[in-house]
């Protein structure tokens, strides 16, 4: 069993790398979509709403397969890793945009009034007043989304990427040590998720250290 550990840990690194790359895409897309939904242009609002509803309304697995199997038939051939990062990023980004929007909208009205009274431009108020406070509000929900993202990376094994799930599946076929292998994989995923959860809550208690009672 121990002999397989390096092979499996390498797979875990692949999973983590895909999760990290998708997280970057997800955060970027989430902010873009959230600002679009809050903008005054009706077209921007409508297209962002379509994006969010579309990606939240269909299964991640369907999205992955669609990008992987269907896009090539339209002549767009993407590398499996690109498909994985794109699908995961866009999917989590759709959920994330609601988190970002909720956090921005929930900023206290008094704060906005104060910014206006101090003659701040809307842009400056957003950057200096709203976003720093929204950041704290959205931190824990984003932590949850990151754990979901990490769990979802298991699906990329189904589009030929050799992540932890893929390697476990293959080793199982070769060795039949089913119980040990699958228990080990559950434990590895659990530890990775705990890592994310602990670092997010550490970050949270750091950023709220002055505002706690």
């Amino acid at each position: 069993m121990l002999g397989y550990l390096p092979y499996l840990l390498e797979g875990a690194l692949v999973s983590l790398a895909i999760a990290a790359a998708s997280a970057i895409v997800a955060v970027a897309v989430a902010f873009l979509a959230a600002f679009a939904r809050l903008s005054s242009s009706r077209w921007l609002r409508a297209s962002a709403a379509c994006y969010v509803e579309f990606f939240r309304g269909t299964s991640l697995l369907v999205q992955l397969f669609w990008l992987f199997f269907v896009l090539p038939q339209f002549g767009v051939l993407l590398n499996a890793y690109v498909v994985a990062v794109l699908a995961l990023g866009l999917n989590i980004g759709a959920y994330g945009s609601e988190v970002v929007r909720g956090a921005i909208v929930s900023t206290a009205q008094g704060q906005l009034d104060a910014a206006k009274a101090l003659n701040m431009s809307p842009r400056l108020a957003m950057r200096r007043i709203v976003l720093p406070q929204a950041f704290v509000t959205m931190l824990l929900p984003w932590g949850n989304l990151l754990i979901i993202l990490l769990k979802s990376t298991a699906l990329v094994s189904l589009i030929t990427i050799q992540d932890l799930t893929f390697r476990i599946y293959n080793l199982n076929i070769q060795t039949f040590k089913t119980l040990q292998l699958y228990t080990l994989s559950l434990v590895i995923y659990f530890c990775m998720a705990q890592m994310i959860s602990l670092s997010v809550s550490a970050l949270y208690s750091r950023v709220t250290r002055f505002s706690r009672k």
């Binding site: 509803e53 579309f54 939240r56 309304g57 269909t58 299964s59 991640l60 697995l61 369907v62 999205q63 397969f65 669609w66 199997f69 269907v70 038939q73 339209f74 959920y95 609601e98 988190v99 909720g102 956090a103 909208v105 929930s106 509000t137 959205m138 929900p141 949850n144 989304l145 754990i147 979901i148 993202l149 769990k151 979802s152 990376t153 298991a154 699906l155 094994s157 189904l158 799930t165 476990i168 599946y169 199982n172 089913t178 119980l179 699958y182 228990t183 994989s185 559950l186 995923y189 659990f190 998720a193 705990q194 959860s197």
Partner: protein, 234 residues
């Protein structure tokens, strides 16, 4: 050169996919029923003052919630037979979905029960009302309505998770779409149709949930709940 989306072919595979859609809906309904039942003892154990009940429930919930559904599906389907538990793909899939979502639902139950004001319990005690009657007549009628939208969201989430069962050959829509794809080498129609089916179903059901939310929610709490809208992931 035929067109990219062949309507004739789409029409031809529609009955096959529709059969898959029925299985998908059945799996969702039965799986959700199991999850509702499984969640209850977990929530009660989690709320218990006995450490020997509370801790195992807490660990189980935490573990199941933070590991991928896909691996859990493989685990039950592949490891079971080694211990003489040979489950059909459908049974294994239902068991895993039920347990996975049961753990999320346990937290909904817990939050709902915790949200009943303490004063209600004190009133129950002051009026010398028995435990069963207290739950039935006083606590549950207050605890259940706020849970309903959250449960509705989990139902939709579970519906979207069912394609995962295609890895253990449950004959739901995704499995059939892949079978059609590998036989005909045409993936555009089946996978797009599966996607559209999910989209239509989810849009309709989430607007229903939103309507429920509006009727069951007391104004001020909405914004916070939106932030913590349940997402389970797979």
């Amino acid at each position: 050169m035929e067109s990219v989306f062949d309507l004739h072919f789409a029409w031809k595979i529609l009955p096959l996919l529709a059969q898959g859609a029925i299985v998908t809906v059945q799996v969702t309904v039965v799986g959700f029923g199991i999850a509702l039942v499984v969640g209850l003892p977990l929530a009660l154990a989690r709320r218990s003052h006995l450490k020997s009940l509370c801790w195992p429930a807490r660990m189980l919930i935490e573990f199941i919630r933070s590991t991928p559904l896909l691996i859990q599906v493989y685990f039950v389907f592949f490891v079971g037979p080694q211990f003489g538990v040979v489950l059909s793909p459908l049974t294994a899939g239902l068991a895993v979905l039920g347990l996975y979502y049961g753990c999320f639902i346990a937290e909904v139950y817990r939050a709902g029960l915790d949200a009943v004001p303490r004063g209600q319990w004190e009133a129950v005690r002051a009026l010398n009302i028995g435990l069963t009657r207290a739950y039935r007549a006083i606590i549950l009628p207050q605890a259940i309505p706020p849970m309903i939208p959250a449960l509705g969201n989990f139902l939709i989430d579970m519906f979207k998770a069912t394609p995962i069962l295609s890895v253990i050959t449950v004959l739901e829509m995704m499995t059939r779409a892949k079978m059609i794809g590998s036989e005909s080498f045409r993936y555009v129609e089946p996978i797009t149709m599966v996607g559209l089916f999910f989209l239509a179903f989810t849009l309709i059901s989430s607007s229903l949930v939103r309507r429920l939310e509006r009727t069951t929610k007391i104004g001020g709490r909405k914004r916070r709940d939106e932030l913590l809208a349940p997402v389970t992931g797979v």
